[in-house]
């Protein structure tokens, strides 16, 4: 791919993301119309007086045509105004701002764990395809996918955090060291369900790379051991998983919602489940927007990365 071709590809991909983003915004806006009951009541809470409700209706612009309401909604989103929580004590944007770093750290640590677990097991399994280790790892991986993340989380809390005292039992930290320590067990619970997916892809990549001609050539040229693995196997085996990256991140993000609730981490996922339990409409609406925009961005970055790394992608 030429430099200009890449540039054009990235530009095209960016342009494609714009209509998707707009439709997402429209969908999230439409939630307000779908939710049962009076939207003004949803905002005002059950104890609001008739006068308050009317004022909110006017404030929300519910007396205006729908398209104008959407335009106003867009305007509010752009300025970061996503309303307040049902109790009125906190702005949704503040909630998102305080939850985002937590979720990001959790995702980062989980990604590291996932790559480490998947890489190590894939190398081990691919050593002798169909050997004992391979079969064993395949069974364990099947367990990993089948174990409910929240259940694993409970078991880790009671079985590891409590007896060792090395990790906080629920909650987050306030210094880099305590934050990392708080992230270890949740990230582990999360990786266990996602690592098998990456492992399967890596393993078949490694097996195929081993069978390839250049591998045989390198071996014949006397390249051995870790150098052989690193330079000739892993590098080639990593191409398909890179295209999986966006999908994996989406999986991790999805799992984070449950893990944050199990471990009581004050991230975006915990806010989402709490809002669903408390029927806090503004929070659900704001978080849905953030999550879906994040996925659009992740896919965008993933596609661009693949395009930059892999010469075979059409431009």
């Amino acid at each position: 791919m030429t430099g200009r071709g890449r540039f054009r590809f990235v530009g095209k991909r960016l342009l494609q993301a714009i209509p998707l983003t707009l439709v997402l915004l429209l969908l999230v806006f439409a939630m307000l119309k779908v939710v049962p009951g009076d939207p003004a009541l949803q905002v005002a809470g059950p104890r609001a007086s008739a006068a308050t409700l009317e004022a909110i209706r006017v404030h929300l612009g519910l007396d205006q045509p729908v398209w104008l309401q959407f335009v106003h909604y867009l305007g509010r989103v752009v300025t970061g105004d996503l309303g307040t929580t049902a109790t009125g004590s906190t702005k949704v944007s503040t909630l998102i701002a305080s939850g985002t770093p937590v979720t990001l750290v959790l995702l980062a640590v989980s990604t590291v764990f996932t790559v480490l677990i998947a890489g190590a097991t894939a190398l081990l399994a691919a050593r002798r395809p169909d050997g004992l280790a391979d079969r064993l790892i395949n069974v364990v991986a099947a367990f990993g996918v089948g174990v409910p993340t929240f259940w694993l989380g409970i078991v880790l809390l009671a079985g590891v955090a409590l007896p060792t005292g090395a990790f906080p039992i629920g909650g987050w930290g306030d210094t880099p060291a305590t934050v990392l320590r708080a992230a270890v067990l949740p990230a582990l619970a999360l990786s266990v369900s996602v690592a098998p997916v990456l492992m399967a892809s890596l393993r078949s990549g490694i097996v195929e790379a081993r069978r390839s001609e250049y591998h045989a050539a390198a071996q014949a040229a006397g390249v051995r051991g870790w150098t052989l693995t690193r330079r000739f196997v892993l590098r080639n085996a990593a191409v398909p998983p890179v295209s999986l990256l966006a999908a994996l991140t989406t999986l991790l993000l999805s799992g984070a919602v449950v893990v944050e609730s199990t471990f009581g981490l004050p991230g975006l996922g915990l806010s989402l489940t709490q809002a669903a339990q408390n029927r806090d409409f503004n929070v659900i609406q704001g978080l849905t927007l953030v999550f879906s925009l994040a996925v659009v961005a992740v896919n965008l970055v993933g596609d661009v990365l693949v395009a930059l790394l892999d010469p075979r992608v059409e431009v």
Partner: protein, 518 residues
């Protein structure tokens, strides 16, 4: 306040379920009687967030416990719940004919910024309470408040009232510096200044997972007595009670507010502090619904509920109810005829109904609490015995409230609790909310409430309360189920902690055994 005490708050603050008698209680939290802690910090776990930093917004169990730590009150609750005792006010006089209260302030009380608490501060505070958007209605008997000297405040009332002293112990009666020490209310409540034992330091991540940090207030009125002893209080809120219990057992929490029997039965008897039960849990029956309009059905339901069974599941934390009002609160007396479980009588009442159609009813409740869930499952089974089919309808606290206030329910569970030492506190709520919601006749209760709150004679008050209880038995639109304790889990190295029945406790008196030398 007590007001419907937001089911979430009440439930969190309330003790429930389990306590299966034997075979439990092997917990190790805090470990051993000789246990010590490395630092002089108290880390508190709770499940309910505060409602904000102003007293006006105080409503749930989180604020009820936190506000007094920061602000201090003119009067406080006696730890045994038998009445009020001096706080920032050393004493007060009530003149019924002149309708005035005179408060004499301590001279050694000081705000966290170093200024002393004066009459002007207290007079200003009375005005703020009365003019509050959320809780102002509680103070509508206040006409004006004036500082007659640096340490005396006279409060003029619009009517005779003996309820005010109890009200002054509430978390809404927070003492502020005059004119918010020159700040706007917004600035002030972002970093409040109070005369309580602790000083506000930070409030991170406000909401269900918030962390509040408080530091010792060196100007606290009992500083000379060495109070508070603790340097730092950290309050960690999380919605997951069972996880908090694990954290407590792992030594990561020193105190848990609102311990339920589900968690408490895993602790030693020294660690689980269970005051006398003083929170009622009641069942509302909507008499505006055709089936429930028949008093025979309502009485049958009451007779078919085995309150001993409900309480046995939460042994040690819960006792069966005799009437609709919380027990162990001053002037709380049972009805002339307490509730009895009588299946035969219940079936006979069912047979006396005018309309013999089979009955299907919904039962609404706050669904996030495992202890309530256990209770409603038992009630469903018990009512099946008299042929009443019950559909369980869990929802969140706001929805339960709106179902109640809009009359959109058959049966609904909620908890009227006292947060100050008078039974008229929960009565005021039943009178203004539950009775109208269930379609009950409010005439007798209204009359007896006025009689009780304008008298200083205990015999008069008791008689009024008994009449209210009997009236509730006769109408059976609100029926009592159980009375619950507001329990706490306390680590072995925490000393001087006394649980009161009113969701709050004296944090200034708490000491921590610290590891010294070695």
């Amino acid at each position: 306040m007590n007001k419907w005490t937001k089911p979430a708050a009440a439930i969190a603050a309330v003790a429930l379920v389990a306590g299966c008698g034997s075979g439990t209680g092997t917990g190790t939290g805090g470990s051993g009687t000789g246990a010590v802690k490395a630092s002089n910090d108290l880390v508190i776990g709770r499940t309910v967030a505060v409602d904000g930093m102003s007293g006006d917004s105080c409503y749930g169990a989180g604020s009820i416990s936190t506000m007094p730590m920061i602000y201090g009150n003119l009067l406080t609750n006696k730890p045994d719940g038998s009445g009020v005792q001096p706080g920032i006010a050393a004493s007060y006089d009530y003149d019924a004919t002149a309708r005035t209260y005179t408060f004499h302030l301590r001279e050694d009380a000081g705000f966290s910024n170093g200024s002393p608490v004066t009459g002007a501060d207290v007079a200003f505070s009375f005005e703020q309470w009365r003019d509050g958007k959320t809780s102002g209605a509680y103070y509508d008997m206040i006409k004006s408040a004036e500082a007659t000297d640096a340490h005396t405040v006279v409060v003029h009332l619009t009517r005779a009232d003996t309820f005010l002293p109890a009200l002054l112990t509430w978390c809404t009666s927070t003492v502020y510096p005059d004119r918010y020490a020159g700040m706007t209310p917004e600035q002030f409540f972002a970093k409040p200044i109070g005369a309580g034992p602790f000083t506000f330091a930070s409030w991170q991540n406000p909401g269900p997972s918030e962390t509040i940090t408080l530091k010792k207030n060196p100007h606290y009125y009992d500083a000379a007595k060495g109070q508070p002893s603790i340097d730092t209080v950290v309050v960690k809120t999380s919605a997951d009670a069972s996880q908090q219990m694990l954290a407590f057992q792992g030594g990561q929490l020193d105190l848990i507010e609102g311990l339920t029997a589900d968690e408490g039965n895993q602790l030693t008897t020294e660690q689980a502090r269970i005051p006398k039960p003083s929170q009622a849990r009641d069942l509302m029956l909507n008499s505006k619904r055709p089936a429930l309009a028949d008093v025979n059905l309502r009485k049958a339901i009451s007779a078919a509920i085995d309150r001993n069974a409900l309480a046995s599941v939460q042994q040690g934390y819960v006792v069966p109810a005799e009437g609709i009002l919380p027990i162990n609160v001053p002037n709380s007396v049972p009805p002339t005829e307490p509730y009895t479980y009588d299946l035969a009588a219940a079936k006979a009442l069912m047979a006396q109904r005018a309309d013999q159609k089979p009955v299907t009813l919904t039962l609404g409740f706050e669904g996030s609490s495992s202890t309530v869930k256990t209770m409603v499952q038992l009630i469903r089974d018990q009512l099946a015995q008299i042929g009443v089919e019950v559909t369980l309808k869990p929802s969140d606290s706001a929805t339960v409230y709106s179902q109640g206030s809009s009359g959109d329910f058959d049966m609904l569970i909620s908890d009227p609790s006292a947060i100050s030492p008078t039974v008229f506190d929960p009565i005021s709520f039943v009178l203004t909310a539950w009775y109208p919601w269930t379609g009950a006749d409010t005439a007798l209760m209204k009359d007896k409430f006025t009689v009780g709150t304008s008298s200083t004679d205990d015999a008069v008050k008791d008689a009024a309360v008994r009449a209210i209880q009997d009236d509730a038995r006769a109408q059976s639109t609100v029926i009592g189920l159980v009375n619950m304790s507001t329990a706490f889990a306390v680590a072995d190295y925490v000393e001087g902690f006394t649980a009161t029945p009113f969701l709050s406790y004296d944090a200034a008196a708490i000491r921590i055994r610290i590891r010294t030398g070695s």
